[in-house]
């Protein structure tokens, strides 16, 4: 027992050493823009399980809305493109630590997130917001039907906050990726699955033969932006300008139609500055 105690203390001490490591998140004063151009490469975080934003096709290639936008950004900045896998749990730590330069995920712009990262201008909007997938004929149509039911969501997603606020009596089943949530629903481990509209649409598309349906959209405006590191206006502006040009040249619309099979929402536009 004596030996045990001594070694545990040392283990704790080693742990403590970690906290004394020199910390400098805000490196020098250089903007990422300069770093990226010097490096010759931009590292973009994209999802791999969120069709049509990002997924992996049968041949192992990454495809999606985010990938195409990433290519445009790399071309505009005249650097090479390096893609990095991200998901709702890793994207902010990666921005904070400099692992990626920009994240093009379907990330909602929220105040809480703005405390630690900066957002570009919104690059996607939908009005339908979130929806739920339930078994056909289920009584669940909206937040008020969720009392005591189990809802499958992803760790770190806004869904958790939304459900906690609007349906505090619902039980949460927190998994690590979307398809896992659908599998949970299939297996009866959850009564409903909560995800963004386009994800729901895609999942239903893939499972047309099965016994599922989607609830009506929960009608919340969702503005989605790209994430960059905090307090780096030069870098953020650089990306904003690329988005601005994409919209102006209508290239954005082309890319959008390719992945969403429809035009951008009539109320959505990427701000256009005249000069």
């Amino acid at each position: 027992m004596k030996t045990l105690g001594r070694f545990q203390i040392v283990a704790l001490a080693l742990l403590g050493l970690v906290l004394l490591a020199p910390l400098s998140l805000e490196a020098a004063g250089t903007s990422l823009l300069e770093t990226v151009q010097q490096r010759g490469r931009v590292i973009v975080g994209v999802p791999t399980d969120a069709v049509p934003f990002g997924s992996i096709d049968k041949t192992g290639n990454r495809v999606g809305f985010s990938m195409d936008l990433a290519k445009e950004i790399a071309d505009a900045l005249k650097v090479k493109l390096e893609l990095r896998d991200t998901n709702p749990t890793t994207r902010i730590p990666l921005i904070q630590s400099g692992g990626v330069d920009v994240v093009i995920e379907p990330s909602l712009i929220t105040k809480k997130r703005m405390e630690v990262v900066d957002f570009t201008v919104p690059y996607y909007m939908d009005l339908k917001g979130n929806r739920m997938i339930v078994e056909k004929g289920s009584a669940i149509k909206g937040y008020r039907d969720l009392g005591g039911k189990t809802v499958a969501v992803i760790q770190g997603s806004i869904a958790i906050d939304r459900i906690k606020r609007n349906a505090p009596n619902a039980k949460l089943l927190i998994l690590q990726d979307y398809p896992a949530t659908l599998l949970a629903l299939k297996r009866g481990q959850a009564d409903a699955l909560f995800a963004m509209d386009y994800i729901v649409a895609e999942m239903l598309e893939k499972n047309r033969g099965e016994n599922f349906e989607a609830t009506p959209p929960l009608m919340e405006i969702q503005l989605i932006g790209m994430m960059v590191r905090q307090n780096d206006s030069k870098w953020r502006n650089a990306i904003d300008f690329v988005l601005h040009d994409l919209w102006q040249s209508k290239k954005y619309h082309e890319i959008y139609r390719k992945h969403f099979q429809r035009d951008p929402h009539p109320n959505f536009s990427i701000p256009q500055w005249e000069f």
Binding site: L15, V18, L23, P88, Q155, I174, L175, A184, Q189
Partner: protein, 226 residues
């Protein structure tokens, strides 16, 4: 970079929940894998070849497949609830290791048994009680301690199938507050504490049984795995 340790206090509720959940997985898996492992271990030392082979098959299969895959199988393929998928996967996995420990204990003790019987005129019952059993525990305790610690560590894999254990909690605090270092450090300390409790409890068990386990090379042979 400053540390904001107050988040640890703010999130003490879910930290506590994480500890409880981890403890639950640990407790149930320990019981199940001990039962299963003892059973298979006895099969492995049976007189009948078929039983020995069946036991051997079990051990080979369940020790060589990653515990994550086993949990995923029970959750995604079979459709059990998160907790049970995790527990059953973990128990089947650990059971294989415990079976091997039980087997070597039984073998070692069988030897000792023979020697004891030959050496003195003790009745079989006396021989079992005062010589065989304490010896059995003496051999079994160090590898069992390692297996218990492995159960604790492998319980963290349960988060992949939706169990909100302590490791899940570390990620949860981090995604909610973006305070990664504070969350990870706190949870690691908690794991060290839990392992100390396990090691300490085994020590108490040794004391109760009046046995001092030999921490020689035999004990350390089945060292840290996974």
């Amino acid at each position: 970079m400053e540390f904001k340790w107050s988040v640890v206090f703010e999130y003490r509720d879910i930290l506590l929940l994480g500890i409880v959940r981890t403890a639950e997985i640990f407790a149930v898996s320990t019981v199940l894998s001990l039962l299963l492992g003892t059973l298979i271990g006895m099969l492995r030392t049976s007189q009948k070849l078929l039983l020995r082979q069946l036991g051997g098959l079990y051990v080979e299969v369940f020790r060589n497949i990653p515990v994550l895959i086993q949990m995923m199988f029970f959750y995604f393929a079979i459709g059990l609830h998160s907790f049970w998928a995790a527990v059953i996967g973990l128990s089947l996995y650990t059971g294989g290791y415990i079976a091997e420990t039980v087997r070597s204990v039984i073998t070692a003790v069988a030897r000792g048994q023979k020697e004891a019987a030959l050496a003195s005129g003790l009745s079989t019952l006396q021989a079992h009680g005062s010589i065989v059993l304490p010896q059995a525990f003496m051999y079994a305790i160090p590898p069992l301690t390692t297996e218990l610690l492995n159960i604790l560590k492998n319980s963290s894999v349960a988060m992949v199938v939706g169990v909100q254990d302590l490791t899940f909690t570390a990620r949860e605090i981090e995604t909610a507050t973006f305070r990664g270092v504070e969350a990870a450090a706190t949870v690691t300390v908690l794991y060290i504490a839990l392992s100390a409790v396990i090691i300490g409890s085994v020590g108490i068990l040794e004391r109760i049984l009046g046995v001092r386990a030999k921490l020689g090379e035999r004990g350390r042979r089945s060292e840290i795995e996974e």
